[in-house]
Symmetry: C2
Subunit: 317 residues, 2 copies
Amino acid sequence: MMTVSRVLRGAPDVSDATRERVFAIVDRVGYVPNQAAQSLVSRRSRIVAAVVPSIGNAMFAETLHGMSDVLRAEGYFLVVAHSGYSPREEHAVVKALLGQRPCGVFLHNTVHRAETVALLRKQRIPVVETGDLAARPIDSVVSYSNFRAGRAMTEHLIGRGYRRIAFASALRRNNDRVHERRRGYHAALKSAGLRRDPAMEFEGDPDPVVGARLLHAIVDGSPDVDAIFFASERLAIGGYFEAQRMGLAVPGRVAIAGFDFYEATSQVLPAAITTIVTPRHEIGVVTARLLVDRLRDGSDAPIRRDLGFELAERGST
Amino acid sequence: MMTVSRVLRGAPDVSDATRERVFAIVDRVGYVPNQAAQSLVSRRSRIVAAVVPSIGNAMFAETLHGMSDVLRAEGYFLVVAHSGYSPREEHAVVKALLGQRPCGVFLHNTVHRAETVALLRKQRIPVVETGDLAARPIDSVVSYSNFRAGRAMTEHLIGRGYRRIAFASALRRNNDRVHERRRGYHAALKSAGLRRDPAMEFEGDPDPVVGARLLHAIVDGSPDVDAIFFASERLAIGGYFEAQRMGLAVPGRVAIAGFDFYEATSQVLPAAITTIVTPRHEIGVVTARLLVDRLRDGSDAPIRRDLGFELAERGST
DNA sequence: CTGAAAGCGCTTACAG
DNA sequence: CTGAAAGCGCTTACAG
């Protein structure tokens, strides 16, 4: 039994002849070691737990994809769960996942309940957060800055000569990402000497239908609006087509900017939508590498990685 | 120790006073039972393994989302991995996942290597496949019929008076879903007395840029084409905008039909794209329920569920 | 280079 | 209603 264990773990001190016999038999009988027993006795699992707000959301799915690419190659497993954007559910999910004794935890969210933070800290395992470059992460953080991205887009619009810039986003409650984008929008307005106007700020479910409704409401309510920064791509796409339906030229009558890469936005006609491209896949890859490296080294120094973003200037602004 | 075990599993035969003491202490110290030990001794894990072609693809992510909704509520965990559309990698991934001794396996694919089928059958655990209503599944199958969907869309086009209908899809190799859609296309042509024309069939990476290129090639190469059935939504969206760029009226000059729900296709102007809406989320929910029910009953009767599809008729046809 | 002993953290099955 | 014994399938640490 010990010899099989050694061979499968690639330990030295096994004769070539024995090694080959073991491999042959393992192959023939289709033996796959029981990971539960392995992790019980070795006191380390190969399970990484990931909690995202929604598994079905392509943005988060892309990051999970990146993680999976690396973890699979390194012999780790990815257990996923979603919180439905609720800190309360996040806590319940994290607690349940800890029953698997994961060797690392990934949270696509940086706003947690105090008890969730305490629970995770107590585990003494690496925890990586993303979603925003949080000022005070639980442990490590791999992200881009929503504040800087929101500011960059607003500066872009100002640079193009727009002065009455509306801001429309997903619901801000419990959503640090959106909150930070809005802070960036405010910061850019301020440095340009433009006044913030609460009547130019909107939020709603991030759905194209809502985006359409918001665009309509904004243009009707503030006829002097000359640009709309949709800090959510699904709102942007809905707003874009609503502008077409209303016969408003984009960007002639109103410029439209989005946030995040949503494939269709680069395709739409007559003008593709200017947006912020975030490194979704890379965040997953870097997170997984960081976890794997730390488990190998046994290091526990928190890591902070800003992977940046790109402002894709297109015809809509 | 036994008493704590009983209380946490909700076993009877514990006095109320003891039960309360146990809960109080468990809460205070934040005790979460080690699932590895549980599954080792009880010989049943609470892990469901899911393999999809690509985690980042929104279609598959939506099904995983549905599974996660149910599994989480029932106390199960979802371990996900992707095969990159490769049967060889699928085999490696399935084998690795079996090390977790999952209580059930989900495969978003119905074309496997013989050794993968054999390996899974040997485990004596429920296996659910989806992607297509496979004729000979490993065990259970929860899906819709790509053949019927492909036929229904082609019949729709014929019913609208189109006669020279091109078919463009993702690469067919190792992709039963696309293969079946094409069979449905052929069946509909045949019942309508229309001739199949190999020069009207195309495949390529399912990317909007490829869709644009294909539309261009089809219209140039077969000037008499009057409809294009893109059996992949990302191709459809690319083709749709390319038609606009080329100044071709849709559907006046050429009708365009898609496959699968891709949010933007319901938004585009001037005409939304006719498509097949598949029950992605429901497939996940039904799959998870089926797994949970079977584990509870101990039944091992294979189940076959056809969840159907909807043909969403829109302006583009 | 190979193997026997001990034990990871639980639950099953049995005794009281 | 409560608890002691045995053991799940492995690896660690030690002996030869």
